[in-house]
């Protein structure tokens, strides 16, 4: 099983749980990569969820694609999308048209969970409305504090900002609004003195 746990370092570091069925009028589930396994467990736990469930699934950046298995769960609506960006409009529309009583679930990488959280809060939901489960890759979504560009699926620390090319150290400091960790230039004082990149977020 690839269920992942977060280390407790900084207060803003998000913590994740395990998806569990909560009564509600509809069940909106967004997952990527191995997060599909968490959706399968959720359905195993409460098969009655299917008739009012709406699943949006994004195959993982690492190639994990559980869409065939998820399609057989019998959800009222199942949609596959190539990326969160591609699915975002649909997600925002579902949230915009919904009523209170809707249950929201996100499972998979931290980048996905963070983006669902951000869109849920934009839709007026409080932070505790979203159930989360981190599965699969620990890759991070990181914002460069210098150029503000966001690099997706960062697995090493330090890494090179995909926008401005600075060498960034990945902090645990997390922004809910941006759904991203903070990356700070590691060789500002001695340019070029960059420690070797370590694969920290596999």
């Amino acid at each position: 099983m690839t269920q992942t746990q977060s280390d407790e370092i900084m207060k803003s570091r998000p913590r994740y749980g395990v998806l569990s069925y909560r009564p509600g009028s509809t069940h909106f589930i967004v997952a990527d990569g191995e997060g599909g396994e968490a959706v399968q467990s959720l359905f195993a736990q409460a098969p009655e969820i299917a008739t009012t469930a709406h699943i949006v699934y994004i195959p993982g950046a690492n190639g994990t694609d559980l869409s065939a298995a998820l399609e057989t769960l019998g959800a009222a609506v199942f949609r596959k999308a190539p990326s969160y960006g591609a699915a975002r409009q649909r997600i925002q529309k579902v949230l915009g048209d919904a009523h209170m009583g809707l249950q929201l679930y996100a499972a998979g990488t931290e980048g996905l969970i963070g983006q669902v959280q951000r869109d849920a809060v934009e839709a007026g939901l409080p932070h505790d409305a979203l159930q989360t489960e981190q599965r699969g890759s620990l890759a991070r979504r990181v914002q460069c504090v210098h150029c503000k560009g966001i690099t997706e699926n960062v697995t090493t620390d330090p890494f090179v900002c995909s926008h401005c090319g600075l060498n960034l150290f990945v902090r645990d400091h997390y922004s809910r609004r941006l759904a991203a960790f903070q990356g700070v230039c590691i060789d500002a004082e001695d340019p070029g003195e960059v420690p070797p990149a370590v694969e920290r977020f596999k």
């Binding site: 909560r22 009564p23 509600g24 009028s25 949230l95 915009g96 048209d97 919904a98 009523h99 209170m100 009583g101 809707l102 249950q103 809060v121 839709a123 007026g124 939901l125 409080p126 932070h127 505790d128 409305a129």
Partner: protein, 320 residues
């Protein structure tokens, strides 16, 4: 810190709203503007009742944009401990009184897409300020206000005149009741729910919403908790080295203050957490009435809230 800092004020208006409710307006003694506040705030009014100092919290109901004064409404509680009776019988225009800086434990969550407000009786007062605030901001809201009868439905007509369709009125004596399950089901995602009124109503609203899958973070409530009357008891204050006798109609906090000890407080209604005290020894039963301590803390008998909670037994020692 004991309480929010005080504002010396003068009562400029006392209006009889109906047979049970009076409205009071305060301005600053020095003529300056009042501190700004947000809808849902309360002030603690200090009363000098023949040598007995009473401190009661009342929601501010005036428009938060109006800094010239504060208004509160007080419902007379003939069976209560006397604060509301004092306000009704003794407070007259021209009187000088101390009121506290506003404190908000029932604020609006302005990230909400819509604010759904449910009021019972005098629980309407914080909503009057909140609606004025939201109206100024262009926020979306809807009020459902239940009262016993037309006579006691304070401010209903004014509110309907001001906010029209957004105000829904219910009179118990006319057999009208809020159809809560239907009302809650129809709310758009991003609605926050606020309820203020009697305990039974608050429990009904919150439990119905939770059953329908509303997240806790979207639920807000405020109950006017008056310290309950009970049996007299003794409490030892370990840090001050004093033993205090708490009278039957006195709260533990009031008795501690009467003994000359400056104890922390803010709301005096078991909601803010400011007065929390560690319990060192308790031979007997801690009677918790607050909304602050968790069930685990209550079970562990580790803490007590002197503003509302009481004790029954032979020995209580707290860290104060």
């Amino acid at each position: 810190m004991s309480g929010a800092s005080k504002i010396p004020a003068i009562v400029t208006e006392v209006v009889e709203v109906n047979s049970l409710i009076k409205r009071f307006r305060f301005v600053r003694e020095d003529g300056g503007p009042m501190p700004g506040f947000s809808g849902g705030s309360h002030t603690v009014v200090e009363m000098e009742d023949d040598g007995r100092r009473r401190l009661n919290a009342y929601s501010l109901m005036s428009d938060p944009a109006d800094r010239s004064g504060y208004e509160i409404s007080v419902r007379r509680d003939d069976g209560g401990r006397g604060g509301s009776m004092f306000m009704h019988a003794r407070v007259k225009p021209g009187m000088r009184m101390q009121i506290s800086q506003p404190v908000n434990l029932f604020g609006l969550d302005l990230r909400a897409k819509k604010h759904l407000m449910i009021a019972g009786g005098i629980g309407i007062t914080p909503f009057i300020a909140q609606m004025a605030q939201l109206d100024g901001l262009g926020g979306r809201f809807e009020l459902h206000y239940a009262a016993r009868d037309r006579e006691l439905g304070a401010y209903m007509n004014e509110l309907s005149a001001r906010y029209g369709e957004r105000v829904h009125r219910y009179y118990d004596t006319e057999g009208q009741a809020i159809d809560l399950p239907t009302l809650l089901k129809g709310q758009p995602l991003g609605t926050h729910l606020y309820v203020c009124g009697p305990k039974g109503m608050i429990n009904w609203v919150l439990s119905t919403a939770q059953k329908q899958g509303w997240p806790k973070g979207a639920l807000h409530s405020e109950e006017f908790l008056a310290p309950p009357v009970g049996e007299a008891f003794q409490v030892d204050l370990a840090l001050s080295g004093v033993t205090v006798n708490v009278g039957a109609t006195q709260s533990m906090l009031e008795a501690i203050e009467a003994a000359g000890i400056d104890a922390p407080y803010l709301c005096r209604g078991g909601a803010c957490g400011q007065c929390e005290c560690k319990v060192r020894e308790a031979e007997g039963e801690l009677l918790h009435y607050d909304h602050w301590l968790s069930d685990e803390q209550k079970e562990a008998r580790s803490h007590i809230m002197p503003c509302v909670s009481r004790f029954k037994g032979s020995r209580l020692v707290i860290e104060l």
